[in-house]
C-alpha cells in the first residue's frame, strides 16, 4: 500500500533521507523506530506531500504520488497525524472535529473527555486531551492509510495506553498503518513489521536497545 523506492530528500543542500526503501503491505501495520535525527519525521513529510523527494519513487495504493500536494493526498484517503499537537488551538474542540469531515459522535463515544470539553478552545486542554483530539481524525475520517508521527511524545503512560487501544482497534479493522515512534515496545506490540531507521537509512540492525543505548549495553 505504501511503497518507497530509494527515496532521497532533504532541506536545501542538506540531505536527510539517503535512499530509503520501505514497503507497507495493504492492511498491515509497520512500526518505524529510531533515534532522533534519523530522518523519521522527514520520511513522514515526504509521504504526506509536505516535502518533495529529490529522487526516488513514492507510491500510495499503487499510484505514483511524488508530486501530489498534501491536501490532494488527504482528500484521497491518506490521514497523516504529524508530531507535536496536530490541532488548531484557537478553534473549539467541536470546531476542530467539524474540520475533519465526519460524524463527531464516533469520537465522543470513544473519548468522553472530549465531549465534555466540546465548547472549549482546543489549546486550553491538557497535552493528552490535545493528542486525543488530533488522533480523532484517524477515527472519524475512515482513512485508507494512516501515518502517525510520535503519537506518544511527551504523554504519560496511561494516556499512551489509551491511545494505543484505539490504534489496535483500527489495525484489526484493516487500516494500513505506518507508526513512527520512539516508544519502541508499545509500537512494536501492535506492528506486523518493525523497521529501524538510523542516519537517514533503514538500518539492518533491528535491535533497539543497541540503537538507543549503544553496543556496550
Amino acid at each position: 500500500m505504501i511503497d518507497l523506492m530509494d527515496v532521497h530528500a532533504g532541506y536545501g543542500r542538506i540531505e536527510v533521507l539517503r535512499g530509503v526503501t520501505l514497503n507497507v503491505p495493504r492492511g498491515t501495520v509497520t512500526a518505524l523506530l529510531g533515534p532522533n535525527g534519523a530522518g523519521k519525521s522527514t520520511l513522514v513529510k515526504v509521504l504526506s506531500g509536505q516535502l518533495r523527494s529529490s529522487s526516488g519513487h513514492v507510491h500510495l495504493g499503487g499510484v505514483h504520488v511524488n508530486d501530489a500536494a498534501p491536501d490532494e493526498l488527504a482528500r484521497a484517503g491518506l490521514c497523516t497525524i504529524p508530531e507535536g499537537r496536530a490541532i488548531f488551538p484557537n478553534l473549539t474542540v467541536a470546531e476542530n472535529l467539524r474540520l475533519m469531515r465526519g460524524d463527531p459522535a464516533v469520537v465522543y463515544e470513544r473519548f468522553p473527555k472530549l465531549k465534555a470539553r466540546q465548547k472549549q478552545l482546543a489549546g486550553s486542554m491538557s497535552g493528552g486531551e490535545q493528542q486525543m483530539l488530533a488522533f480523532s481524525r484517524a477515527l472519524i475520517t475512515d482513512p485508507a492509510v494512516l501515518v502517525i508521527d510520535e503519537l506518544s511524545m511527551g504523554l504519560a503512560p496511561v494516556i499512551v495506553a489509551e491511545l494505543y487501544e484505539v490504534v489496535k482497534e483500527l489495525a484489526s479493522s484493516g487500516v494500513t498503518m505506518l507508526i513512527v515512534e520512539q516508544f519502541a515496545e508499545t509500537a512494536s506490540a501492535v506492528a506486523d513489521q518493525v523497521v529501524v531507521m538510523a542516519h537517514g537509512e533503514i538500518s539492518a540492525d533491528s535491535d533497539l536497545a543497541t540503537v538507543y543505548f549503544g553496543g556496550t549495553s
Binding site: 543542500r13 542538506i14 535525527g37 489549546g123 511527551g154 515512534e181 519502541a184 538507543y212 543505548f213 556496550t216
Partner: protein, 230 residues
C-alpha cells in the same frame, strides 16, 4: 557551590507543562541531560540561556541569580549554547560566524582560525555557512560558542549529523573542555557519547526530572529504560 543551578523551574505553554518543577545542577566537567523526545530538554536550555522566561523558578550561575537577565547579558557572564535546529548565520562565511562571536567578547579575530581547527572544520573557513553539511554546521556552532570563552557551555544534540570519526573527535574535544575547567551540559541521543564522556547524567521525562546519577547508575536504572523503550 555549583556552576549552574536550576531551581524549581516550570515552563507552561497554555495548559501544557513542558518543564515541571525541575531542579538540577551542573559542575565543571561534562553533565549529560537525556530523555525521550518532548521531555523538555531544549526548553530547559532556552530557559538557562535566557531565550525563554520560566513560568516559575530560578536559574543561578555560580550562586548568582540570573533569572531576570537577558540572553546577551548571560553570554557576558559566561553562558554559551548551540542549537538543536541549527542557527548559523547563513549569509556569512564560516570564519565570519566565529569572528562575530569573538568580537562580541572583544577577543582578537585571528583566534577564529585556531577555533575552527580545534573543532575540525578549518577546511570550510571561507565557505558561506548555509552551504556546509549539517555536521560541519553543528561544529561551527560549537566553535562559535567557544569563541565567547564560556564557563558554562550548553550543547543541544551536537553529534547528530556527525559520522563515527567526527563523533569520536568530538568526544575527545569534550574531554579537553572539561579539563579546562568548563562546565559542559550535553543534550544528546547518542548513548555511547553520553555513557562514555559524561561525569554525571540527569534524565528528564515528561518535563520532570526522572533521576540523576553516574552513567553506570543510569544505565541500570529501570525507569530510564522504560522511558525510552515504552
Amino acid at each position: 557551590m555549583s556552576r549552574l543551578r536550576v531551581e524549581g523551574v516550570t515552563v507552561r505553554f497554555g495548559e501544557v507543562t513542558a518543564v515541571d518543577d525541575v531542579t538540577l545542577s551542573a559542575d565543571p566537567g561534562v553533565t549529560g541531560l537525556i530523555g525521550p523526545n518532548g521531555a523538555g530538554k531544549t526548553t530547559l536550555f532556552d530557559v538557562i540561556s535566557g531565550l525563554r522566561k520560566p513560568s516559575s523558578g530560578r536559574v543561578l550561575l555560580d550562586d548568582a541569580d540570573i533569572t531576570s537577565k537577558g540572553p546577551h547579558q548571560r553570554s557576558r557572564l559566561g553562558v554559551a549554547r548551540t542549537f538543536q535546529r541549527l542557527e548559523v548565520f547563513g549569509s556569512l562565511t564560516v570564519r565570519e560566524n566565529v569572528v562575530v562571536a569573538l568580537e562580541s567578547r572583544r577577543r582578537p579575530a585571528k583566534l577564529a582560525a585556531e577555533l575552527l581547527a580545534r573543532v575540525g572544520i578549518a577546511e570550510f573557513a571561507d565557505a558561506q555557512a548555509d552551504t556546509v553539511p549539517t555536521g560541519a554546521a553543528r561544529l561551527l556552532e560549537l566553535a562559535r560558542a567557544l569563541a565567547t570563552d564560556p564557563h558554562l557551555l550548553l550543547l543541544d544534540e551536537p553529534s547528530s549529523g556527525l559520522d563515527r570519526a567526527e563523533t569520536d573527535a568530538f568526544g575527545e574535544l569534550l574531554r579537553q573542555l572539561s579539563a579546562e575547567g568548563r562546565a559542559v551540559v550535553l543534550v544528546e541521543h547518542d548513548m555511547d557519547l553520553v555513557m562514555g564522556y559524561c561525569d554525571h547524567v540527569h534524565v528528564l521525562n515528561l518535563g520532570q526530572l526522572l533521576t540523576s546519577g553516574t552513567p553506570s547508575e543510569i544505565r541500570s536504572h529501570e525507569g530510564v529504560r522504560e522511558a525510552y523503550l515504552g
